[in-house]
């Protein structure tokens, strides 16, 4: 498999040291890494799932709004950050592999490398304890 771009390698290394859940997608939306705090939130381990195409992670997380209505893919912060190349933020419900639904706040931003290269996007999650 070809080497990842240096900016992506560095942000994975940063994510692996941070205590807040963080996921990284590549330019086509494939989830290429999530850190240990994200593993707890998603109730799955990256070593077990490996990379996940956009369709797969969007379906797996069963993301809904405050009223339980499914969120259109194009309204997801990570998808906005990736395809519109701008930061995005919202609250939503999501379901981990353990079946537990959690209310989370998500901030996503695009990864733009040297010379304006689109390298993917990153999302940071906060679990909202008192929804």
């Amino acid at each position: 498999m070809a080497q990842q771009e240096i900016e992506v390698i560095l942000i994975r290394q940063l994510a692996s040291y941070l205590a807040m859940p963080m996921v990284i997608v590549n330019p086509v939306g494939t989830l290429i890494f999530y850190n240990e705090p994200a593993e707890e939130l998603l109730a799955m381990r990256f070593e077990e799932t490996g990379e996940m195409p956009e369709d797969e992670w969007v379906d797996a997380l069963m993301l809904t709004d405050e009223h339980g209505m499914p969120i259109a893919r194009e309204a997801l912060p990570l998808v906005i950050a990736l395809h519109e190349r701008r930061p995005a933020h919202r609250r939503m419900w999501g379901q981990g592999r353990d079946g537990v639904r959690r209310y989370v706040e998500v901030t996503a931003f695009p990864l733009v490398g040297q010379a304006g290269r689109a390298l993917g996007a990153v999302a940071i999650f906060w679990e909202v304890k008192h929804a």
Binding site: Q4, E5, Q13, G113, Q114, A115
Partner: protein
């Protein structure tokens, strides 16, 4: 391809009796192609004697800068071809996110740091920003990519029909990695280096020193050898020696690193004047 080391020291030129075998000049390597193309990798203080050794008939020389830290450009203003109007000098190197390569070089090549300005150099000067799409200089095919070091820093992979050289100095692929090396996919510089015949790589620190300087952008000797093993290179040259390391230190550290890593390929501590012939040249 003939590869000659003109400066192997990192950070600061370190002349003196304690560094006489491995040399005190900062990073500079020349690469001669089978058809006479001359490529220069970095412009540390070693570029001055290189410039004096180039044939007077030379009409083009290309300098590939990895980055613009002073130890990699300090010799540039003392490179003889820059003062010859008959010579085309092409400088390749990284821009920053806000400044062009020209603007960045002008910070050094202008008063008060240097008496002349870049635009006043008599040669036929062209600047090219890297990393960029693969490019060709004479018989060399050159790939460039950003690597892990503070500030925009580029590694180069130089290929002819017969051999591949990878020049990846000032590089810390172990930064933030719990157990180095990881897979090639997640290792800085891997694609540049994979299966090269010769790798010239940062080896500034002992393992103990590296622990004190994590994040400074350099490698231990053991990391350099481990990286070379991951990338299945044929021969690694340990380069960018710490200015605090004497010849005896480099001998000892190399012996210890080889004993600890047991490489199945050649490991050579880079010394000024070393020449490596690759391929059929």
């Amino acid at each position: 391809m003939k590869v000659t080391l003109w400066g192997t020291r990192g950070s600061l030129a370190t002349p003196g009796t304690a560094t006489i075998r491995y040399g005190g000049n900062t990073s500079c390597v020349s690469v001669y192609g089978p058809d006479g193309t001359v490529l220069v990798l970095d412009a540390g203080t070693g570029i001055r004697p290189l410039g004096m050794a180039l044939p007077r008939s030379l009409r083009r020389v290309d300098i590939c800068l990895t980055h613009l830290h002073l130890d990699h450009i300090q010799g540039l203003g003392f490179f003889a071809p820059l003062y010859n109007p008959a010579v085309e000098v092409h400088i390749w190197g990284p821009a920053s996110t806000t400044l062009s390569l020209r603007d960045r070089l002008m910070r050094y090549l202008s008063p008060p740091l240097f008496p002349l300005r870049l635009r006043e150099l008599p040669c036929q000067l062209s600047l090219h920003e890297t990393p960029c799409a693969d490019f060709t200089i004479g018989e060399f095919r050159i790939a460039s990519a950003l690597i892990c070091h503070p500030g925009p820093t580029v590694g180069y992979r130089i290929t002819t029909a017969a051999a591949t050289l990878a020049y990846v100095t000032d590089h810390e692929p172990a930064l933030g990695v719990p157990e180095f090396p990881m897979s090639g996919e997640w290792t800085s510089g891997y694609d540049l280096v994979a299966e090269a015949d010769l790798l010239i790589h940062d080896a500034q620190y002992s393992s103990e020193e590296y622990a004190q300087y994590v994040g400074w952008g350099h490698s231990s000797l053991q990391h350099a050898i481990a990286f070379a093993a991951l990338a299945r290179v044929q021969h690694v040259v340990l380069f960018h020696h710490d200015p605090g390391h004497t010849d005896q230190d480099i001998d000892r550290l190399t012996t210890e690193a080889i004993a600890a890593t047991r490489p199945t390929f050649a490991v050579t501590p880079g010394a000024e004047g070393c020449v490596f012939a690759l391929g059929s040249h």
